[in-house]
């Protein structure tokens, strides 16, 4: 059987677009992850969205709706310029506009948004790394009046002056200027402490059996170089819960 170019071209188009149409009809064709974080399953916050599952692709508008935080608070907290559409501004863009801070070791990024949302809403959040907040964000949080003494100490110690106008939005009282972080030292995770930078290889090296890890994950362990946090997120589970369970298993193994 001989095939001419016209027929080959038609077959190529039919297979590609027919395949896409068919898988779309079967609800299999997905080009993005739904921007809805997982919810807490247990504890006082059960049923609430978990800020730990906020992704870099979430826009401030998404977060405002999901967590019921006024959009202008988010824009002010993270020092967005007036000409930026805050509703469409994605968390990952913070790392672009504050790239110099990353080099200085005081990165403002998606983790900062997670922490801000958690503290603003009073939701549980495991701080697994040094997370910095812009000074306006700290002011807004302190003005809420709901932070514990420990939390106030943390945000004060991790406040970063953006060098921008720090006008708080209407309804937020001005707090005293937060101090700059002290010397910017590179964060080195402590051995045996599960953090966002911990890989499965680290867990194994610290003496945790693969069976125990898989039992906690509820499935097979990926490649040893994979970050635990990335893998847990890809499973649609909150990292904070997995971290707690893994840390407990590590502590038990160390005894």
């Amino acid at each position: 059987m001989k095939l001419k170019s016209n027929l080959l071209g038609a077959i190529v188009l039919t297979v590609l677009f027919g395949g896409i149409a068919l898988t779309t009809a079967l609800n299999l064709w997905t080009t993005e992850t739904a921007k809805v974080p997982v919810k807490f399953e247990t504890g006082e916050a059960a049923g609430e969205y978990n800020p730990d599952d906020i992704r870099g692709s979430y826009a401030f508008g998404d977060i405002s709706e999901l967590f019921d935080i006024p959009l202008e608070y988010l824009a002010t907290a993270f020092g967005l310029p007036a000409d930026v559409d805050a509703a469409a501004f994605q968390n990952k863009e913070l790392e672009e506009i504050y790239g110099a801070l990353e080099e200085a070791g005081t990165e403002i990024g998606n983790s900062s948004v997670k922490l801000f949302v958690a503290l603003y809403k009073g939701l549980p959040y495991e701080i697994d790394d040094e997370i910095y907040l812009p000074a306006p964000a700290v002011k807004i949080l302190k003005a809420q009046g709901s932070l514990s003494a420990e939390q106030i100490a943390y945000v004060d110690a991790h406040s970063v002056d953006l060098g921008l106008a720090e006008a708080a939005p209407a309804g937020v009282e001005q707090a005293e200027a937060a101090p700059q972080p002290a010397a910017t030292e590179e964060h080195v995770p402590e051995a045996g402490q599960v953090t966002g930078q911990t890989t499965f290889g680290d867990l194994l090296a610290w003496g945790l059996a693969q069976e125990t890890i898989e039992e906690i994950l509820g499935g097979p362990m990926p490649a040893s170089g994979t970050l635990v946090k990335d893998h847990v997120s890809s499973l649609g589970k909150p990292f904070s819960e997995a971290r707690t369970q893994l840390q407990a298993a590590l502590d038990a193994a160390a005894k």
Partner: protein, 275 residues
């Protein structure tokens, strides 16, 4: 056998232009959508979601954990399967008819042909070229290994396809832009240099040339040994010296066939059967 005037296959460049424009528009729409705008009836998917090679690099993680590598979605997996179906039937037809990076290299090469005439596509010494042709399998092995170990889309940082349609975005790594630049400059001297020497997806699809259902077959009794098929082949395959083309580099462009450059009817065809 009466020789015919050679024809040009018009549909392939038309389809190539279509896919180039489609991917370019979707990439632009993706940027607009991230800024709160965009064209409603056009997809705003990320390039990662529309790249079949994304499906290939996530196979290991999907098989072992049931999850996709970051930034890869179901669509990449589906495109990978569709690409494999086409390749088993027709060889790497995705490379020759669809891939926008291949298309851009062909466009750039048109300038190279005008500049260097007959020297074009003959700059690389044959022995060196023969060895370099297998480099893309090394690239493939490196990409698969690194992606499996890290669970991250390692290749995106050096991917010229991603750089081509995202050069305005901060998501593109400098290395990706450099590789794209080298590829385009290289296309002035060599046809499809990225495809020949480096493309890991081409390496995967190229294997199907060994067993594809439809294959390029030369009818020796009617062949006049003019070598036009070999000279026209963008991948420098010596078609005139083979009865059936099983070269792992063939991209099923059909430029060597009697429908295009071969002057003798029914002498080089894309057919089933043939040993």
């Amino acid at each position: 056998m009466k020789a015919k005037k050679h024809n040009k296959i018009w549909l392939r460049p038309a389809i190539q232009l279509f896919f180039f424009a489609l991917i370019a528009l979707i990439a632009i729409n993706h940027t607009l959508a991230e800024e709160g705008g965009g064209i409603a009836f056009l997809s705003s998917a990320s390039l990662h979601a529309l790249c079949p090679f994304g499906g290939v690099v996530t196979i290991y993680q999907y098989a072992t954990t049931g999850t996709f590598v970051q930034k890869i979605h179901e669509s990449s997996f589906i495109l990978m399967i569709l690409g494999f179906i086409l390749a088993v039937l027709f060889g790497p037809v995705f490379c020759g008819w669809v891939c926008p990076l291949g298309t851009v290299q062909e466009w750039t090469s048109k300038l190279g042909k005008k500049l260097f005439k007959r020297r074009f596509n003959r700059f690389v010494p044959r022995k060196v070229d023969a060895v370099l042709r297998y480099l893309r399998y090394g690239v493939l092995a490196w990409v698969l290994y690194m992606t499996a170990v890290t669970g991250r889309l390692i290749f995106a940082d050096v991917d010229p396809y991603f750089a081509l349609f995202n050069f305005w975005s901060s998501e593109v790594a400098v290395a990706g832009l450099v590789v794209l630049g080298v590829t385009l400059v290289g296309s002035l001297f060599v046809e499809r240099p990225w495809c020949k020497y480096t493309c890991p997806y081409g390496a995967v699809l190229g294997v199907t040339n060994l067993f594809r259902v439809f294959k390029i077959r030369r009818n020796e009794p009617t062949c006049i040994a003019c070598d036009k098929c070999s000279n026209r082949c963008p991948m420098n395959i010596p078609v005139s010296q083979q009865l059936v083309v099983r070269d792992h580099q063939c991209i099923s462009c059909l430029e060597c066939t009697s429908e295009a450059i071969c002057p003798v009817p029914a002498t080089v065809d894309f057919v089933t059967g043939g040993k």
